[in-house]
């Protein structure tokens, strides 16, 4: 097999994943728990219980970041293919606006725990999805109709959200927290629930990869090959949105991963949907985990929102890649 630069990049990325885990487990406030303790824990040496709790917490948020990376990048990639829009990201269809609207309204009418809000956000996201699907079903589901429906809904809900946010007055921070997006408030309960939904959506994407792949040929050609384009489009939108909804409910609307990670993957392995999907899982999780590590470091000992980091560090990476490979874009 010929070893190309891209193969080398892929191999490096695979090795980076466990390294990112180690760094993530060693980083954070409580500097007493560092790399040494992580190694001890891996080799089964018993740590004192506070250390163990800290490591467990860090492991959980690392897993949450991993799930976030996997889910958002695969959803972004799938939407880019099925909606034939290179700038599609998982929030294009109003999924996050639905969640934020739900959470804001819930906060307005009463006090809820994070775990209760998780379900509120999930219902909000799925409500948005339902609306978009309904619109596209009534008015025939061209990709442009779906996008327009999604964007309009997004604006509508943001408008309403702002009004209720002002009404919240001094309680605004409880909602802002959601707006930012972070894995710091994720719990094992919500992580488990969300991972089930993300896995289901990944199975749908992988199972249909060849049909989704033909969408690069345009609708007519794709249909002539025997692909049921409308069906594939709807099922892909549902899969991507299910995954996104689960992640927004878990960690808020973490931005940029869903746009940048798919593009990083495509620049490395090309446009074959199957290959790009596998690679996007890797680029997405690395982007998310390293961003979460940085989120814990940049304004140490406090913590920056994950979205801020993914945007600040993801944007230059994407611009660099776009310029480096501009012949291929």
């Amino acid at each position: 097999m010929k070893i190309s630069v891209n193969n080398i990049i892929s191999i490096i990325l695979v090795f980076l994943l466990p390294i990112s885990f180690l760094i993530s487990l060693s980083t954070g406030p409580y500097s007493k728990v560092g790399f040494d303790q992580v190694i001890q824990a891996i080799f089964g040496i018993k740590l004192q219980s506070t250390y163990r709790d800290i490591l467990n917490y860090r492991l959980m948020r690392t897993l949450a970041a991993l799930l976030l990376g996997i889910g958002l990048s695969s959803s972004g990639l799938t939407l880019q293919y099925t909606l034939k829009n290179p700038l599609a990201d998982p929030y294009l269809l109003g999924i996050s606006s639905g969640a934020i609207f739900g959470v804001t309204i819930a906060e307005y009418f009463g006090y809820y725990s994070y775990y209760q809000l998780y379900f509120v956000a999930l219902v909000g996201s799925l409500g948005s999805l339902g609306f978009v699907l309904l619109i596209s079903a009534i008015f025939r589901s061209s990709s442009t109709t779906i996008i327009i429906a999604g964007i309009s809904l997004s604006y509508l809900l943001s408008g309403l959200t702002t009004i209720y946010m002002i009404k919240l007055g001094p309680r605004i921070p409880s909602v802002l927290f959601w707006l930012f997006g972070s894995v710091s408030f994720t719990t094992l309960n919500t992580l488990e629930r969300s991972s089930v939904l993300v896995m289901i959506s990944l199975i749908i994407m992988f199972y249909n990869w060849k049909a989704i792949n033909t969408l690069m040929l345009g609708e007519d050609l794709s249909r002539s090959l025997g692909v049921k384009v409308s069906y594939i489009r709807i099922i892909s939108v549902i899969a991507a949105s299910l995954s996104t909804a689960a992640l927004v409910a878990m960690a808020g609307p973490v931005g940029f991963i869903g746009l940048a990670a798919p593009w990083m993957a495509r620049l490395i392995v090309g446009s074959n949907f199957g290959k790009a999907l596998v690679m996007s899982l890797l680029t997405g999780s690395l982007l998310a985990i390293f961003s979460d590590i940085l989120a814990r470091l940049v304004i140490y000992p406090s913590e920056a929102p994950l979205t801020a980091i993914t945007s600040i560090f993801g944007a230059p990476v994407l611009i660099y890649l776009a310029l480096k490979y501009r012949g291929r874009l």
Partner: protein, 250 residues
């Protein structure tokens, strides 16, 4: 053996008739050229044969089966496919194999097959080049090689030589003639170059969505018929036994 049977096909959008009462049948290995002015229904007819739209009346049978059940034996090339400009040539060719490859993953065989057909038409290796970086003629050739790689029994081409220079036009048309004879592939194409329609065994000339004339090239390509269909005065030139028609513009 009869490969294509088009029986009384009509297609209406609302109450407006796009094509009406089209009838013909082709045998295995025959070439049919569909001619007619812009907007006469050539593309619609081709799409009906490819199973992309259902005729309002009538039916199409490909080897005795409707087009929807014959995907694996058809290759169809639209006139203006909306191809992802970022995708590279090899990824596009592999995507075109869909349905022809039964495996879940891409196999070495698929890659070899696609490359073999690609190098049939290209000297240079553009396999890793993004589609949008190719000229429109090269893009056409890429998609055509993808059509052949599917190993079809029937090929439906919407303006296969549009955008191509004469070298590539000759290459494609000779190739079509070749495979129809050697591999018994039935080819149907639409075209605006009347002279090139001579490569076909049959010509279907449409006027206002209806069949104006159907038969072998010598019987269809007559000055008065062509003038009537295209509504323009023409000069006739004979080349060997083939006729060429030119509008009176000089």
């Amino acid at each position: 053996m009869e490969s294509i049977y088009v029986n009384n096909v009509s297609y209406f959008i609302k109450d407006k008739e796009v094509i009406k009462d089209i009838n013909f049948s082709l045998n295995e290995g025959e070439i049919l050229a569909i001619l007619g002015p812009n907007g006469v229904g050539k593309t619609t007819l081709l799409k009906i044969m490819a199973g992309l739209i259902k005729p309002t009346y009538g039916s199409v049978l490909l080897y005795g089966k409707p087009p929807e059940e014959s995907r694996n034996i058809i290759s169809y090339l639209p006139a203006n496919p909306n191809i992802d400009p970022y995708a590279n040539v090899e990824d596009i060719l592999l995507a075109q194999l869909y349905g022809n490859d039964k495996k879940f993953f891409i196999s070495k065989d698929d890659i070899n097959k696609v490359r073999k057909w690609y190098f049939n038409f290209f000297d240079k290796n553009y396999l890793k080049t993004p589609f949008s970086n190719l000229s429109s003629g090269e893009q056409r050739l890429v998609l055509l090689s993808g059509c052949f790689a599917r190993n079809p029994k029937i090929i439906l081409l919407d303006e296969p030589v549009a955008f191509l220079d004469i070298t590539n036009q000759a290459k494609i048309l000779t190739f079509i003639k070749d495979i129809s004879v050697k591999m018994k592939i039935t080819v149907v194409f639409t075209m605006h170059e009347i002279y090139y329609a001579n490569v076909s065994n049959k010509i279907l000339l449409l006027k206002n969505g209806q069949v104006k004339s159907y038969g072998d090239p010598t019987s269809v390509l007559k000055k008065e018929i062509i003038e009537d269909v295209y509504k323009i005065k023409l000069k006739e030139v004979s080349l060997d036994d083939k006729k060429m028609f030119f509008p009176n513009i000089f």
